[in-house]
Symmetry: C2
Subunit: 395 residues, 2 copies
DNA sequence: CTGTTAGCGCCTTCAC
DNA sequence: GTGAAGGCGCTAACAG
């Protein structure tokens, strides 16, 4: 392996000169620069970033922990995250925990051994807050609260629920039917507002719990508007057949329904079923998908859907991640060699420590949900205004 | 930051003793070991892997280059790859190239700067063979030929096509209709056998080109069996509407069709359309998805599909990756400190260099396609035997 | 502006 | 068995 040493010898200069040229830091005489550069080419020198990293105590790599990537939701988030991190000069280490005995500890270990500069935690954890707060390295949580001092980012599902309700209200809907998961644990969760420690399934993790928040907001808003609403329970969100049954029973049990909200796949099936039965979508029946993925385009019509602003979420997470890294960097540089400009880093001043939000255990950064405009709901000026107001985008 | 130094001092021993304990290499007196271990705990020492990596010239990280992860195909492959690499002690660096000006060079740069031990190349490249062969670092290609000495792994689409044809033949089909992409460039590709340099779209990259190989094999096999077959062209594989039109026209133009092969989504739509028109699936009409993803479960019936053996592919790629890393490792250790046991590494002997396959430019490792048994095709003993014979699994 | 020097934190031949 | 010394490849203070 050819190193700076060889380049220096070949160019007849000293190490630091080469270093300066490589990093284009200080000023080097043009002649020297040329000599060095040609020497580098001749030897086809390529700097070893490992050494550089060792010195700086930094790898510019962050681990993204997720249950799986084989699920549209996580795949989409992962994609957005990778892009957002890349823009900031950070590389993405894929850390999947499903099917892995102790993936979590493994990746946290890498963080501690300085193989990664930070961790973005987007998977269910079996550990308590103590575990996370005692790590004392950069961590950012997605859609979960890990402990004091650990920033968290997630979607504003209450706003999403309100948004859905408002769209229906403004379009003149009179009878809304909600499709959703088992209603059983609904009330427990709704009342305690505590985190779900039981659910381990990847698809549940993000459909069941947030759905509670959105459903409450949705129903409350509908109530205020005096709009009738009913709920149809899908026993097992993982079973395709259940979705179809649900789609069928909506139309059978409530022939006068004129608006439906459902998870993406169920919504798509509702569209098919409705068209099969001669409903006219959207004029006689509106259908709205909540948390829609691309399957909303499978139905024949583009289904209007309320979805998470993945890019916005990713941007915010990436931002927080950089903040965290810089904060810890300067902390560590107390007894080290880093040439920081003293004081704290911009954006992470003081009170960041005390997330003294009145309600602890909540997400710190709430990102608004977006609306993807489709052909299965009605549109009028009031609705367009609503959307412009709450700043969702058409994707 | 607390280092081995501090541990050594605290334990009253010397550096190397600590090192030996940490790596559990040589033999250390039990007393020493205990002293060191407790010292480590008290100081909550955690080894800095950066330093270790610098010394060993290895990061145990491999970059997986893919166009995107927001596509079921790549997400699935990525997931399998990550698992396979993890099993072998390798971490996965996610390297997405879509929407990135020069992601490819970026990641290759990281490989050269020793930030990654290897690269798995699963995206379209704009560079020629010279670019890849002159990198001289571990690379493994997925479904593409990058140059001599660079191992490649991919699915055996010819076998897949034969498999489909055989299934139909054995089930007594008399008229098969194929749905697929534009037939235009079909023949060009088929004749030249050269790589497609034009397609840049992620979904095209793996649907259009391999589909040629499978379609040829399929049609040839059907011909040999004397089974009539027709082709229906889907103009734009990215447009949902096109799929539906195609599904409709199959049944209109060929009322006597008794078997259909189509890309997953199209197949799902065919099932829906067929049921709507009163066909009995599978007894009067069989439907088979080629390269099926989970959308084949969206149709109401589980669609039988022929799909890539992602886990098998991933395992093979991971294996080749490890081989490559070890090979280059020992090459580099000629003038270094590595304590290798001399000679070459098992499994990577000699002739690996010369992929002197009679036909150059081909995939080195072909992995058989699998069959996912669904409810849209007929089954009999002969078919089961066929499947057991060619070793596809039921997933 | 250039060269010399002392590490980043860990690993491993060598003498003891 | 244990301790001391040199080095992985690069960096950033220093002097010159």
């Amino acid at each position: 392996m050819v190193g700076m040493r060889d380049v220096a010898r070949k160019a007849g200069v000293s190490l630091s000169t080469v270093s300066l040229v490589v990093n284009s830091n200080g000023y080097v005489s043009d002649e020297m620069r040329v000599r060095v550069e040609s020497a580098m080419k001749e030897l086809s020198y390529v700097p070893n970033e490992l050494a550089r990293n060792l010195y700086h105590g930094r790898t510019n790599t962050v681990g993204v922990i997720m249950p799986t990537v084989q699920h549209p939701f996580f795949a989409t988030l992962l994609g957005s995250l990778q892009k957002a991190l890349y823009k900031r000069g950070l590389n993405t280490m894929l850390c999947t925990t499903a099917d892995m005995e102790s993936g979590e500890e493994h990746y946290v270990g890498m963080l501690q051994r300085h193989m990664m500069d930070a961790i973005i935690m987007g998977a269910h954890t079996s550990h308590g807050q103590n575990y996370w707060t005692s790590i004392r390295r950069p961590i950012v949580a997605f859609d979960r609260y890990l402990g004091d001092g650990i920033p968290s980012v997630g979607s504003d599902h209450e706003q999403g629920g309100e948004l859905a309700a408002m769209m229906f209200a403004l379009s003149g809907a009179r009878h809304v039917v909600l499709l959703g998961g088992p209603r059983s644990r609904f009330h427990d969760l709704a009342q305690t507002h505590g985190g779900p420690n039981a659910s381990d399934d990847a698809s549940h993790e993000l459909t069941s719990f947030p759905s509670v928040r959105y459903q409450i907001a949705l129903e409350d808003t509908l109530d205020s508007a005096g709009i009738r609403h009913d709920y149809i329970e899908i026993d097992d969100l993982a079973k395709m057949q259940e979705f179809e049954n649900a789609a069928r029973s909506v139309l059978e049990r409530f022939p006068d329904v004129d608006a439906i909200v459902a998870p993406d796949l169920a919504a798509a099936l509702c569209v098919q079923e409705a068209m099969r039965r001669g409903f006219v979508v959207p004029s006689s029946l509106q259908i709205l998908a909540y948390d829609g993925t691309f399957v909303t385009d499978t139905a024949g019509l583009r289904v209007t859907s309320i979805l998470q602003g993945f890019d916005a979420i990713a941007e915010r997470i990436a931002m927080r991640t950089v903040e965290q890294i810089e904060r810890y960097q300067s902390e560590a540089s107390s007894n080290a060699h880093t040439s920081s400009s003293g004081s704290t880093i911009a954006g992470s001043d003081g009170d960041n420590e005390t997330i003294s939000d009145p309600e602890a255990g909540r997400i710190g950064d709430l990102i608004p949900m977006k609306v993807k405009i489709g052909a299965t709901t009605l549109w009028n000026d009031a609705i367009h205004e609503l959307l412009d107001g709450s700043r969702p985008q058409t994707d």
